[in-house]
Each structure stands twice: as C-alpha cells, then as structure tokens.
Symmetry: C2
Subunit: 431 residues, 2 copies
C-alpha cells in the first residue's frame, strides 16, 4: 500500500470523499460496539463456572494449616492461597500476603499507607513537601489515578519494547530523593503488551535510588495471561524479588497480582509479594485495617485450581477464546493500514490490549470519530499521566470482551476513522 504521505492533494481529496461515504454507510448500521475496557468476555467467565461446585454445604472448610476459614483470623492468607499466588508470581509463599477481591485496592493501600505512615520507618510521604512517581507511558490509567489522587507528581518515562527507558529511570531515581516509586506492568504491559527484557529487570534491581523508601510498584497483572500455547511465544520475565536480593536491594519492590482475569473480575483473590522487611511493615498496618480477608474465597480458588498446572490449564482455555479476537483485530489493521504510514500497532503474545499509535495529534479525533459510528474506545490520553498524551497519538484497543465478528466490524470502523482523520490532517498540512 502506498504511504498516505506520498499521496497528492487530489488523491487525498478523492480518498477523503470515498472515506466519508464509507463512514456514512457505517454509521447507518447503528452499531454499538465497545473496545474500551479490558474485560473478560461472557464465554470466558462461563469457563470458570464450575468453581461454584468446589464448595457446597457438605464441604470441609478447613485449610491446610487446620484453620476453619469460616471464622475470624489469619491476617496474611491461608497457606494454599499463598502457594497459589506465589506460583503465579514465581516466588515462595513466605514472601506473600493474600488479600481480598482485587489487586487495585492493594496498590491503593500501599500508596495510602506510605502517605500516612511511611515505608519501613521512613517519613510519611504526606509530611514531605514533594513526592514524585515515575510513570512509564503509555501505561495503565488506574495506576496514574491513584498517584494523582494522593497529589503525587507524575513524571512520564517513555516505554520501549524492552520496557521503560532505563537510562532515564536510573538517572532520575539516583538524583531525586523525592521520587518514591515507579509504576510497572512488567509482562504484557498495559496497553502495549510489551514484556520487560532481562536487562531491564536487572537494571531495575540494581537501581541506586536517592530515596531509601523508593519502591518499584511491580504490577504483574498478566503473569500467566499468554495468548499462545507454544512456549516460544510465551513471554518470560525475570523474577524481580530475587534479582533485587542479589543486587543488594531486597526491600525495593512490591509485586502485585490477582486472579481477577483468571477466575472472575473483581471476585478473585489478590496478593502482594515482597521482602520480609516490607511484609512486617505492611502487616503492622494491616492488623489495624482488617481482621483478615475473605478466606472462604481463598480456599475456593486454591481447591479449584489445585496447583500451578491447574492455573495454566485454565489459562490455555482462556487463550483459545482470546487468540481469535486479537487476530481479528490484527488482521484488519494489517490489511487496511500496513504501509500507509498513518499508524503503528503492537502484536502482543499475551495480556489484554493492543496499542495503536496514530500520526501526531490524531488520537482524540479518531476516538471521537469512532464514537460517532458507535464504536467505543478507551478515551485518548488515558494511557498517560493526568490523561494527557503529549503526542495525542496513543489509542488502547481492548479486544477481549466482544466476539471476533464484532471485533472485525469494530476494527473496520476504527481503521476507517484512522484513515479519515489522517487524511484530514495531511490535507491540513498541505494547506
């Protein structure tokens, strides 16, 4: 396909007329499609329904350690749930606290507690003049919302296919004591589906932060969320806790995970993995905050999945459903936009998103145009701190919820809108 940048004004004008006609046709269909949030599909949720048969009125609700999970007690989770979450994160159970239904709350609590009580004996962040976080972007909007909520200044760090720009991370972190954290999605990153390289992880582990209470917020949200069964197409991330230990920074990382996208969204089991020092500090606050999390749901999950093989077997079923969805989107993008020079997109091996880069200053207009034709996308800018994408070019595509057919239709409209807005932009440049 010819790059749009090489088209003459006349060619662009004629293309524009055709695209506008196509758009009116598309609008006429009255579609209502949503590619905005990383939600599991109904079919995917249906696959987990037999978890409800694991516990019934005749079940013995005693945990491995002999705890009656129906009663009070056990601050840090029952052993089988610790084992399950430890396996998912690739750590040992003694590094794990199991929480409630979702990991977002755990991250929120980690920041909130650092604000009011500080991290491992350091000054509470709310007593400091300035607290900053590094935010690799494009990234996850809800991470940025948490730091913004607490008035933490966010500094954007560019993402690369190997992870965040580590030169910039190393420099900033070592020079500025007010930088207290960084948000990371190390595997199948949201939204690009990038996985941090071994070198990136090792450079993270070897950071020399000016702030003693600097923490890496390692949101391992897609640890087992591969799209392909072949091992060579399954991304791997070095285990960060042991890397930090080896590098003499044992306390530098909080790792988060949950089964929200393994069992049920917002009704799963969440966990943190971190050093003994951090665990002790966290448990002190946790003992005030709660008598314990829902151990019955922990038991239900651990008994359902049995072990790590069980988790992976379940995730292969998810992958079989999700693969055609990602491929449906990619097929249209490849067919319609390859060589046009008006967009680039990622081809992740897992996770929940495809990331699209339009020409500069086009993303907002594309998302608005899609909306007009009944296709909802994540708001442009959402993948950047403060909702402001400096290039106005990143668009997050979430292909998990609709069916492959719906996705093909939605992506048809998406590429149509990309073309329209790009043509308008190029015509504007020609004057």
């Amino acid at each position: 396909m010819k790059a749009y940048q090489e088209l003459s004004k006349e060619e662009l004008l004629s293309l524009k007329a055709q695209l506008e006609k196509d758009f009116e046709d598309a609008k006429g269909k009255g579609l209502k499609l949503d590619m905005s949030r990383g939600k599991p599909s109904v079919a995917q949720l249906d696959m987990g329904m037999d978890i409800f048969d694991v516990l019934n009125s005749k079940s013995d609700l005693t945990s491995l350690e002999g705890i009656d999970v129906r009663n009070y007690g056990v601050l840090d989770g029952i052993l089988e749930a610790k084992n399950m979450m430890a396996d998912i994160m690739g750590v040992t159970a003694d590094h794990v606290i199991v929480y409630g239904n979702a990991s977002l709350n755990v991250m929120f609590d980690a920041v909130s507690s650092a604000m009011t009580h500080g991290v491992m004996g350091n000054t509470p962040w709310c007593k400091l003049d300035k607290v900053k976080f590094l935010c690799p972007a494009p990234g996850y909007d809800r991470h940025f919302s948490i730091t913004q909520h607490f008035g933490i200044e966010m500094i954007t760090v560019p993402m690369t296919p190997q992870g965040p720009d580590m030169d910039m991370v190393e420099k900033l972190v070592s020079e500025d004591e007010s930088i207290k954290g960084i948000w990371c999605v190390p595997k199948y990153s949201n939204p690009q589906g990038y996985t941090y390289s071994d070198e990136t992880v090792k450079r993270f582990a070897s950071l020399k932060p000016a702030a003693k209470d600097f923490r890496i917020f390692w949101d391992n949200a897609y640890a087992v969320h591969h799209l392909y069964d072949e091992e060579e197409r399954q991304d791997k991330v070095l285990e960060i806790l042991s890397e930090c230990e080896k590098a003499g920074n044992p306390d530098m990382v909080y790792e988060f995970a949950s089964t929200s996208k393994i069992s049920f969204s917002g009704a799963g089991v969440a966990a943190i993995a971190t050093s003994k020092g951090n665990l002790e500090c966290i448990k002190k606050a946790l003992a005030i905050q709660t008598i314990g999390h829902d151990k019955i749901n922990q038991l239900r999950h651990a008994r359902y999945f049995k072990n790590f093989d069980g988790v992976n077997a379940h995730m292969r079923k998810h992958a079989a459903l999700m693969r055609p969805k990602f491929e449906a989107v990619l097929e249209v993008l490849d067919r319609e936009l390859s060589g046009t020079g008006i967009g680039e997109w990622t081809r992740p091996n897992g996770g929940y998103f495809i990331s699209f880069e339009s020409m500069e200053n086009c993303a907002k207009a594309i998302v608005a145009k899609c909306k007009e034709a009944g296709v909802t996308l994540t708001g442009a800018g959402a993948t950047y701190p403060y909702g402001k994408d400096p290039g106005d070019s990143n668009i997050r595509i979430a292909p998990t919820y609709p069916t492959p057919d719906e996705l093909a239709m939605a992506t048809d409209i998406f590429v149509l809108c990309v073309k329209m807005i790009s043509v308008e932009k190029l015509l504007g440049q020609l004057g």
Copy 2:
C-alpha cells in the same frame, strides 16, 4: 451472700486459704478455655453452610439490575445486596454502599480517607495540628486501634446503660473544633451489651459540633443480633440517619454494618449507610481505590437470605445456640458473686459480650490469674483507649465460641479468680 467488705480479717484469711486450695485443684485440671474474642462457634457457622448451595455451576449470575456479577463494574454494590444491608440498618437502599468482606476495613478507610483527603471538601485531617475522637468506654478495642494508628487523640467518655454520657459529648463536641468523630456501638454495645436510649439517639442527632466535618461513627455491628425471640426482650434503636435529617444534621453520621456475625466472620458483606452528600464524597475516592467489591459474594448472600425475614429467621437459630451460653455464664456469676460486693456484670439482650466490673485495680490481676488456670480472657484494659482502663476494673467476657459446659467451667474459674484477687485486695487494705 455476705459482702466481702464486711468480712473480718480472720474470715478473709480463712476464705483466702480455701480459695487457694480450690485454685490449685482447678489448675490441676489443665483446662484450656478461651473467652477472649467475639467469635461465632463452630455449630453456629455450621448453620450457614447451605449458603454454599445457593450458587453452582448452573446458576444465572445476573443481579436484579441485569448486571453479570462475574465481571467488572458496579462501585456501590448490586441492588439486592443494597436492599439486604439497608434492611439490616433500617434505612433505604439509596443511602447504602455495599463493600467487601467486613466492616472494620470500611471504618478504617473512612478514617484514612478523612486523613488524606478530608470529609466533604473540608481540610484533610493530616493537615491539622490536632485531631481528636471521643471514645465511649468501655468500648471496642479495634475502634480505638484505628484512631490510635492515625495519631488521633482519644478522649474517653463514660458509658451508661442509656449510652455515652451525653452531657459530656454535647459539651466537648460544641466547644472543640478539633474533635472530628465519636465511636459508637449503639445496639448491644461491645462489651456491655447496652443499647442507646431514644433520648440518647435524639441528642446525638441534635449535636451542634464546632467542627463542620465532625462525624458519628455508628457501628451498628449487632443490629439483628438478639438473644431472645420475644419482642419485648429485643432492644430497639432509633434509626439515626433520619433522626439526623430531622434535626438538620443530615451529613453527621456514617453507619456501618456487616454480615460477619450473620453469615461468616470475615467472609460476609459489609456496608455503609449515610447521606447523599457523604455518599458522593466517598464514591469519588472509592472509584480510585477499587473497580468494585466482590459482587458474587453479595449475590450469594442476598439470594441465600432472600429478604429481611430470612435474615431474622437465621438469627433466631443463632440465638437458640447462644442463649444457653450467655445463661451459663450468668448463672455462675449470679450464684457465686451476687451480694459479694466484689463485682458487677451486665445482662444483655443481644450482642456478643458480657461486661464485668471488678473492684478497682483488680482487673489485670484477675485476667492474669485466670490465664494461670488455663482460661483466656480479653486483656484487661483493651476496652479503653490506649489499652488503659483508668480504674483497672473492666473485663470483657466473650461467651460465644465455647460450649455451655466449657463456659460454666471457665466461669467457675473466673469467679474463683475474682474472689481471690478481691480478697487479697481487701486484706491489703486492712494492712
């Protein structure tokens, strides 16, 4: 029985010798009994086991509003859960947010959020020089732990059988702008089992606090937790939200409740009830903190109990189990200590505790003595702010977990220890 205060030194000495002999006998039995925490018994938990048959792999997991509870969304709870929690608190569902597994976390979050972000647009408490809470005492240790955790100064307010000393509450609250809250357990209070009178509730609703962001933390933990089926033995509390509205203080109260002691401890459903103004402020922070609470467990609970009649029917089954336990303790206390002048105790119509008042400066010694003979009680002092009971006289008895037989044995030892310590004290006074 003759009051111990009227005994001669010789009588006391001879009594002491007898008690010491009895104590050695008791110790010899090697008992291990626990009356320390308000935990449901195994039999009580067994009564709720059929909740696990409510949802199975064939269930339709759609809520009343048509929400698939297995997926993300719904910040404030599904309608049927709102209805259930509203009924328990005696309010309407539009005043309710349904949370996760327990209400302690909700109270913690309410204080934490007030610290970092303030209440309804007022200055965050962490920016103030001084924040104080009123703490009716004896009260619930975990309430006091939360305020202590956040460095909030606690002022003890004496409890009466009608509720907190309202003269003191009114005076302090109207004079001191740094007083931002008060902890209340209005029904079957922990540990005394007192229920606030209508007058107390009305005086609460009519408070004229100096602080605009003063809030009553109304922990309605035992709203439906009666020990007796006869209506005249079931305590009633005026509904505080509407009383506050009537008095022109609609935003002054946060009410908390949960099913922790209805279904399962720490695996139930919790809720807050409050004004529209507060709800809006809370939801703003909640939208950052979570994508939503466990809606599957909300649905399971709502379908299991069906309606408020279902909740009450279930609680009557609990009561049938718990009544003999409370009565076993009271029988021994009545038989052994009536007229002795060395102790007083409450006779609650519900809740989870009996409160015992020893002679001054005896509680710690009694609890320690009991421990020696294998009976664990809540640590003396725990029912007061900072764990310091100024009179060292209050002991909380939690009769819910052991069997009636175990309770009779444990209370036998308890009264023996009360007698021993009291006799020693009286002998000390005689010199």
